[in-house]
């Protein structure tokens, strides 16, 4: 059976936040298709909904209307237990704020997704070491994350996202807080062996990343 060329499809997605004060419409009718293996950059100013979009794709959040297909499966009405499984098998996520567990070591943080997938100890060790090396952080393996610099935390986040060898990688502002040299290293690693064949969706509010991506979509900020 041929695999579907489109790995991700959003149809008429509508998302409103009903938090404090009056409702905030972030997306009213968002449509998007992403090809398998594509490197897509989502570009836009702060507050335009980049993180919101990634949250919807990962199933972290639900839209009010519309459909989201991840590798052929519609996720907006999927029961939580199946969603969790889909995430574990297909998705790697780097959060804008990293979301590492500071009291655990680098090794333990990167190991977590493998533990949750039930991978055995020796296999875990092998995979974690491999991915730490790919992101130049082997030396930090036993350090507590709380003691790392912001840029180093970013690399740990990336390593954690890639350790399960996911098909789809969601990166929220991966180049934020990094100096020019580290940004280059990071962008090089996104083009590297580990990322071969992966579908990458990365958000950014600066130009650098858009130059290495294959396609860039621009989100505009809705004026209130």
């Amino acid at each position: 059976m041929p695999v579907d060329r489109v790995i991700l499809r959003l149809e008429h997605v509508k998302k409103t936040y009903n938090g404090q004060g009056k409702p905030l419409k972030v997306f009213e009718d968002l449509n998007l298709e992403v090809r398998r293996g594509e490197f897509l950059a989502i570009f836009g100013p702060t507050g335009c909904g980049k993180t919101t979009l990634l949250n919807l794709i990962a199933g972290f959040d639900k839209p009010e209307a519309g459909k989201i297909y991840v590798d052929g499966q519609e996720i907006t009405r999927m029961p939580e237990s199946r969603l969790v499984e889909l995430r574990r098998k297909k998705l790697g996520v780097v959060f804008q704020t990293n979301n590492l567990i500071p009291s655990m070591t680098v090794f333990e943080n990167v190991e977590l997704p493998l533990v949750l997938s039930g991978v055995g100890r020796s296999e875990r060790k092998k995979k974690v070491e491999e991915v730490l090396k790919a992101f130049w952080i082997s030396n930090y393996a036993e350090r507590k994350v709380a003691t790392l610099s912001v840029g180093e935390c970013r690399m740990v986040s990336l390593a954690r996202a890639m350790v399960t060898d996911p098909e789809i990688v969601l990166l929220d502002e991966p180049t934020d807080f990094l100096d020019a040299l580290t940004v280059d290293l990071m962008l090089a690693s996104l083009k590297g062996k580990l990322m071969q064949g992966k579908t990458i969706i990365a958000t950014t509010h600066r130009g650098r990343l858009t130059k290495v991506a294959e396609r860039v979509i621009r989100l505009k900020k809705r004026l209130p």
């Binding site: 972290f60 959040d61 995430r87 979301n99 655990m104 333990e108 977590l112 533990v115 949750l116 039930g118």
Partner: protein, 173 residues
């Protein structure tokens, strides 16, 4: 399938790691709970040497509530981690069970330490005569309140982890 075994192993790993890595956070709770249990032991023996069940039961309620409150607080402190683990693909059951393991470990160790410390104090002050048959009942009560506390914490996690990842992370701040 072996799925159940795998989930159990995952919870065990998580629970133990959490316990170890959050020790600095947990040790204050550990100290308070041990002290409380020691106090309970001493009070039960000295005030109610005959093992009068009603007054003892009323103190045990206070203790159970304290266990529950402290454990609930601990769990709420790690709300952010819960959201993250869910985002990384942890099932609700895995999370709940991991927390149950962590809290039970905390509850039982502090209960036993408190009991031992309380008994030791009594022996030093009053000699070996304090030992009466109802020492086992006190142990049961202490263990029961520790477990009640753990269950409260785990129940909170079970309810809380029903929320979406975005909600959990946004609320945890």
């Amino acid at each position: 399938m072996g799925l159940e075994g795998r989930s159990f192993g995952t919870s065990l790993w998580l629970g133990l790691k959490w316990f170890k890595s959050s020790w600095s956070r947990v040790r204050l709770a550990f100290a308070i709970l041990s002290l409380l249990t020691a106090n309970f032991t001493i009070v039960s023996f000295t005030l109610f040497p005959g093992g009068e069940i009603l007054p003892i039961a009323s103190i045990i309620v206070i203790m159970a509530v304290a266990f529950a409150a402290i454990m609930l607080h601990l769990v709420k402190l790690s709300a952010q981690d819960l959201g993250l683990l869910k985002a990384l693909g942890a099932k609700r059951g895995t999370l709940t069970f991991a927390v149950l393991i962590e809290l039970t470990l905390l509850g039982l160790t502090s209960a036993f330490l408190g009991l031992a410390a309380g008994l030791l104090t009594l022996i030093l002050l009053e000699g070996l005569t304090v030992f009466r048959i109802f020492i086992l009942q006190i142990l049961y009560l202490e263990v029961a309140s520790a477990i009640a506390g753990s269950l409260t914490g785990a129940f909170f996690v079970w309810r809380y982890s029903r929320k979406t990842v975005a909600e959990i992370l946004a609320n945890a701040g």
